[in-house]
Symmetry: C2
Subunit: 155 residues, 2 copies
């Protein structure tokens, strides 16, 4: 178990594209449940599968429980049990000792670029890389659960 | 992943009580989701925790995915995320080479005794032990999801 503290930002597309960066990993994820109280997510990340249970967001924090599962199980559950599957390539990039996860969305969310940083506590300081744009941590439209139902290409 | 084929019976209380049988394990379980399409169950079984995803029942069969998780996580999820928790003691008893699971319910479902047998295929033969009473495989009132909402003591 853990409490997740996460800040989320839009990414400046031009600056991001010019950056030298590592290879990304293909993610596919869908939701068995997405209420305001709790979320049950199934994810395929490259060669691995995961199931994740998240509680309600409280400020920047939320309870989160994540378990590795066989990737074949994850694929089957996405095919049988979830609604729209969100697809993206996740690039991990370290800036001033902190690892950012930048998601380049595909499919119905093509064109969206989001950067996330996980923190130890809510007031923790961090360097803002030059490719960051505005913060959207508390904007629910950028939650993946929202993007599954209301893809970016239709905004 | 797997497809679960299960048959369920009531148990003759007098015959069951007179039987010599092994110690049972205490189970507590609750549901993060229980729709007709899919179920997400969290269970504490003795010293172990589990999360289980089940699909829709089709006859005696349903898809089932089960993962072991830290028991502390399971306890926390039952406390924070589930509705009513179903409590029971599960006794495993082997009859003619097949292992029956007999659940002695407690709490709000006190007085209910249910026996389950998992099979390889739907037409598989098995011996009926003398403590079995009527079959209730397709009676939805005996699903644990139903018992969580409508406990046996209130029937």
């Amino acid at each position: 178990m853990g409490v997740e503290i996460e800040r989320k930002f839009l990414v400046d597309k031009n600056r991001w594209q010019q950056l030298e960066k590592p290879e990304g990993t293909l993610y596919k994820q869908g939701y068995l449940l997405d209420s305001s109280e709790k979320v049950v997510r199934v994810r395929v990340a490259g060669e691995n599968g995961y199931i994740t249970i998240k509680g309600k967001s409280e400020g920047f924090s939320r309870k989160e429980y994540e378990y590795k599962i066989p990737v074949q199980d994850a694929e089957e559950m996405l095919a049988h049990f979830s609604g729209t599957v969100v697809e993206k390539t996740r690039v991990k990039i370290t800036v001033a000792g902190k690892t950012w996860e930048v998601d380049e969305f595909a499919g119905a969310n093509q064109g969206l670029l989001l950067a996330e940083l996980e923190l130890e506590h809510e007031s923790e300081a961090f360097e803002h890389p030059e490719w960051l744009a505005e913060e959207v941590t508390e904007d629910e439209r950028y939650y993946n659960v929202y993007l599954a139902k209301h893809p970016f290409s239709k905004w």
